[in-house]
């Protein structure tokens, strides 16, 4: 922030709250990421609400976004993903997620490195961006933080007899979701040990009903673990919120049980194969209980 401080002293920058006076060593969180591409596309994938909460500990960083009480997305970035990762305690705060996304994309398609810094409660989140292809240019972003908001807790019972788990290849599953009728209001997801194994039916389209089935023996299915048939309906709008994550995911895990709660894990493509994934929880529509 040395540079911003100079501009503040000259009166160019007005908002003093956005500047931090601390030395580099005093930061509660100081991470360095060499390439922002995967990080940016992951943030963009969960950018469906105003605010996101960030929590960090020695293992890595979690960024969560919710909409209403029915959908939650969480981005996990393990400490190994960063070139440098120093966390003091377990800082947590909320930021405007779209501002964070805009800041990461300031230089468009040019790849950048980023330093992420946070001093502590009340301080702004700092991003220092440097494009790789032009060393004469650098950006300091200072984003306002607020206290962390409580998150919903979702959980699938790992011991439930009805817990079904499927792993699929990301691009193939993405194609299937992409081709679902955009006009549909609801999607019905069926997972069963016998045929049709995995089926999505679109509901609420005038004059037509469409469905798509994938056999468990298909090459796109990496793992198929199902003992009991589960059927649940979801709002198509909420399923569509996973589109951006689906498009860039290399693998997708689908988990659900008799309750209908849908848990999706998207393994994000990263050049160096270090772990970064997005998890979604989507609650089912109630009507299914009548079926």
């Amino acid at each position: 922030m040395q540079h911003s401080k100079v501009l503040y002293e000259k009166g160019i920058i007005k908002n003093r709250k956005m500047l931090t006076q601390s030395q580099y060593e005093d930061y509660q969180m100081a991470c360095h990421l060499k390439h922002i591409k995967t990080f940016y596309s992951s943030i963009k994938a969960i950018c469906f609400s105003d605010f996101g909460t960030l929590e960090a500990n020695e293992d890595g960083i979690l960024i969560s976004v919710e909409q209403g009480k029915s959908i939650q997305a969480t981005l996990f970035i393990s400490a190994a993903f960063f070139a440098e990762f120093r966390i003091d305690g377990s800082p947590s705060f909320s930021v405007k997620i779209n501002v964070l996304a805009e800041c990461l994309s300031l230089f468009g398609l040019s790849d950048c490195s980023v330093r992420i810094l946070y001093k502590g409660e009340g301080s702004p989140l700092l991003l220092l961006l440097e494009p790789h292809d032009d060393d004469q240019v650098s950006t300091e972003c200072s984003i306002k933080t607020t206290n962390m908001e409580e998150l919903m807790e979702y959980d699938l019972d790992a011991n439930s007899s009805s817990l079904n788990t499927i792993f699929m290849r990301g691009p193939d599953l993405s194609n299937i979701f992409h081709e679902l009728d955009k006009a549909a209001d609801e999607f019905e997801l069926t997972i069963s040990p016998l045929k049709p194994h995995f089926r999505i039916t679109t509901l609420g389209v005038m004059q037509a009903e469409t469905s798509v089935e994938v056999a468990k023996s298909s090459d796109m299915v990496i793992l198929f673990n199902c003992r009991e048939t589960t059927v649940a309906r979801y709002k198509s709008q909420q399923i569509k919120l996973t589109n951006k994550a689906m498009q860039v995911a290399s693998k997708v895990a689908i988990k659900t049980d008799a309750s209908g709660l849908l848990e999706l894990h998207f393994m994000m493509n990263a050049d160096d194969q270090k772990e970064m994934y997005v998890r979604y929880f989507i609650t089912p529509l109630l009507e299914t209980e009548d079926n």
Binding site: L7, I13, V99, L106, S110, Q136, V137, T139
Partner: protein, 289 residues
């Protein structure tokens, strides 16, 4: 009143289209001023209140047109002044753009009367699927501005600025300003004679400061800058981010360098040298924060 011009060079034709395409992105209508040896375009005259900035382009006719004949309505007049749809002009010239898929032999511009006055754009094109040249004609409707009204269509003057910086990273600048328009309605350009340009966007949610260091310094006014040559001086001006973004997003030219002049708290002058005698200018007026 007569006007006839012909272009033969593929590169120049492509540039000429890029200029028209840039204008079309900025405004509905553009003004074409034809002089004996110059062709000028103006979009968004100053009184206009759109979010697009004032932009003008001056073309030395001998640079682009091997043939350029302009006869005003009366011998004592200097110009022909026309108003036309920028989109029409850009579309009429679009055929000049296609370099690989088809080749253009020539492009003629001709002022004609067909029901109403038109600039006829006549291109001779050879497509890859045949060897025969085809003639593609577009008649761009124009309104002829009478001399009594010329006063409202005067070519703007480049204001004096305290500092002029040449920024070599136009691509990064364009993307940056495009994103900043979602952060803050105003944007501060801060330049220093030490060869640095800072762009600052501030809002309740974020402060974003971008530094372009070691940029080329062009001294606009030798006498003035001699005085303060020793001390480091800096100048700043705050402008409408959307206006700035509209300008940068409109650019269809391949230039990688742009000159930014700063007149302290008055305006930002932008200048794109397409060639030595073909120059695009814009002025972004200061806004109060």
């Amino acid at each position: 009143m007569k006007f006839y011009a012909e272009m033969l060079d593929v590169l120049y034709m492509r540039e000429f289209h890029a200029i028209a395409a840039t204008l079309a992105k900025l405004a509905k209508d553009c003004i074409m001023i034809l002089a004996q040896e110059q062709m000028h375009f103006i979009v968004n005259e100053e009184h206009c209140s759109t979010s697009s900035p004032l932009v003008w382009v001056s073309i030395a006719s001998k640079d682009y047109f091997p043939e350029f004949q302009m006869t005003p309505a009366r011998p004592e007049q200097e110009f022909i002044v026309l108003v036309m749809s920028a989109m029409h002009l850009s579309r009429a010239l679009a055929v000049l753009r296609s370099g690989s898929s088809s080749s253009v032999h020539s492009c003629k511009l001709n002022l004609k009367q067909i029901q109403f006055p038109c600039i006829s754009v006549i291109a001779s094109v050879v497509s890859p699927s045949s060897s025969e040249p085809r003639e593609v004609v577009h008649d761009v409707p124009v309104t002829v501005v009478p001399p009594s009204d010329w006063i409202s269509y005067m070519l703007p003057k480049v204001p004096n600025t305290q500092i002029v910086l040449g920024i070599p990273s136009l691509r990064l600048l364009r993307s940056l300003i495009d994103k900043l328009k979602n952060i803050s309605p105003s944007l501060i350009f801060h330049g220093s004679t030490a060869g640095e340009l800072n762009l600052v966007a501030e809002s309740d949610m974020a402060t974003i400061t971008t530094r372009f260091s070691r940029v080329l310094l062009h001294k606009p006014d030798q006498e003035q800058s001699e005085v303060g040559a020793e001390a480091e001086a800096d100048v700043s001006c705050s402008v409408d981010t959307r206006k700035a973004s509209a300008f940068f997003n409109a650019l269809q030219l391949p230039n990688e360098e742009i000159m930014i002049g700063i007149d302290s708290e008055r305006c930002i002058c932008l200048q794109l040298d397409i060639r030595s005698n073909v120059v695009l200018h814009s002025i972004l007026p200061a806004v109060c924060i």
